[in-house]
């Protein structure tokens, strides 16, 4: 069974108005899959009836939007961006921020938190002693932010890309779930944020973020919204900071105020006028 054309149109319009995310025709199956559990929980016989109830039920409307804006994710997703982060981006940041010994990273559209906690683990493993972190995780879904704060993951979620040595180091079993260590949870601050709306004042630390991960989310927006987001993100990145998009996304043709640099399979975006902090690999120092 698929949902009716009218139900799909209502939901697509609701999500677009609230979050600017696009649900094009053909995604009826996705809407149905994501709303069916909520429909059953609310006692409706089918998803159409549930969608009809959204017109008057504000609480369910919020829950439906949450369910429709979550992304499937995994730990160290795609791996290459994380390798670039630790091997190529971190050394110049360590050099440029030696006076403050503080690094700031923003996981925009953090979903259930696998990205920000993956970053937190890597920083623990790679930062010299005495450094502090400012790790911000934002998402349009309050349900997802709640999950990030709790830091609990099912076994199936833990299987998705979490290396076993890191699992035993950073997680403990709580019933049927795994809970990320209190140390890592304490490092991550969460904030509700709709990327399509103007950013609130004070989102970025003084000087801007050193690294912004904005991966696999621009694809959900229309062209104008993508341009607008990239323009506003530029205001929040440090002059020598970097933006990492998803592997299928680029600022090319969207915002000419970013420069693009390919590092291996990963494209790194820097604000125009910025230059990568001078960094000499150890092997070349003193050569």
């Amino acid at each position: 069974m698929t949902i009716s054309t009218q139900s799909f149109a209502y939901v697509a319009d609701l999500v677009r108005r609230e979050t600017s995310m696009l649900y094009d025709p053909g995604k009826e199956y996705l809407v149905e899959a994501r709303l069916l559990p909520l429909a059953r929980e609310a006692g409706h016989g089918d998803v159409d009836a549930y969608i009809a109830s959204l017109r008057t039920d504000v609480v369910q409307r919020r829950r439906a939007i949450d369910a429709l804006t979550i992304n499937e994710t995994s730990w160290f997703r795609d791996n290459a961006p994380y390798q670039v982060f630790t091997d190529e981006l971190l050394p110049p940041i360590l050099s440029a921020r030696a006076h403050t010994r503080r690094i700031s990273v923003w996981s925009a559209a953090c979903s259930s938190g696998q990205e920000i906690y993956s970053i937190a683990m890597l920083l623990h493993e790679h930062l010299p002693p005495g450094w502090t972190t400012d790790l911000l995780a934002t998402d349009v879904s309050t349900a997802m932010l709640d999950r990030v704060e709790k830091g609990r993951y099912s076994q199936v979620e833990m299987n998705r890309g979490m290396p076993a040595p890191r699992l035993v180091r950073w997680f403990s079993r709580v019933g049927a779930e795994w809970e990320v260590s209190a140390d890592l949870r304490a490092q991550v601050r969460t904030r509700h944020l709709n990327l399509a709306a103007p950013f609130p004042f004070g989102l970025a630390p003084t000087g801007g973020f050193d690294v912004i991960f904005l991966r696999n989310v621009l694809i959900y927006f229309d062209l104008e919204t993508k341009r607008d987001i990239l323009r506003r993100v530029r205001d929040l990145v440090a002059p020598d900071g970097v933006l990492i998009l998803g592997s299928s996304e680029s600022s090319l043709d969207l915002d000419q105020q970013w420069t693009r640099e390919a590092i291996g399979r990963v494209q790194v975006h820097r604000p125009v006028g910025a230059r990568a902090t001078a960094y000499t690999p150890p092997a070349l120092q003193g050569a």
Partner: protein
């Protein structure tokens, strides 16, 4: 590349076989650790073993310990695929020489991503 699937459940061996052959591996199977060692001793040395923990005759932990005691098999990548989900069991398997650990139930993506982590697979195909 050769994958050795070690599990006493024929259905589970079939599921894993389908996943790894889909990635380009050649696959052989064993119903327990002793049968798996027989493969190795006969010269069918795999690149990676997917190993259940609880099996008759020789369990997965004993198999990992045995393989790691033989220097000529040091290069074999060992990945546990098991229902054993306690923190201490994972630590024990890693300490014995397993490289990775997947807890049942799993999705095909979970196996693929772990093989990617181990450097055997990239973009859904053998490296």
């Amino acid at each position: 590349m050769l994958a050795l699937i070690i599990d006493d459940s024929r259905a589970m061996r079939m599921i894993l076989r389908r996943i790894v052959t889909g990635l380009g591996f050649e696959a052989i199977e064993a119903g327990h650790g002793r049968e798996a060692l027989d493969h190795l001793e006969r010269g069918r040395v795999p690149d990676v073993c997917l190993i259940d923990w609880n099996m008759p005759v020789m369990d997965g932990y004993a198999f990992v310990t045995e393989v790691r005691s033989r220097p000529e098999w040091r290069h074999i990548t060992l990945m546990m695929v098991t229902t054993e989900s306690e923190h201490g069991q994972i630590v024990k398997a890693l300490a014995a020489g397993a490289h990775e650990y997947v807890i049942k139930p799993f999705t095909p993506e979970a196996i693929t991503e772990k093989l990617e982590l181990l450097g055997l697979v990239r973009d859904g195909a053998l490296v």
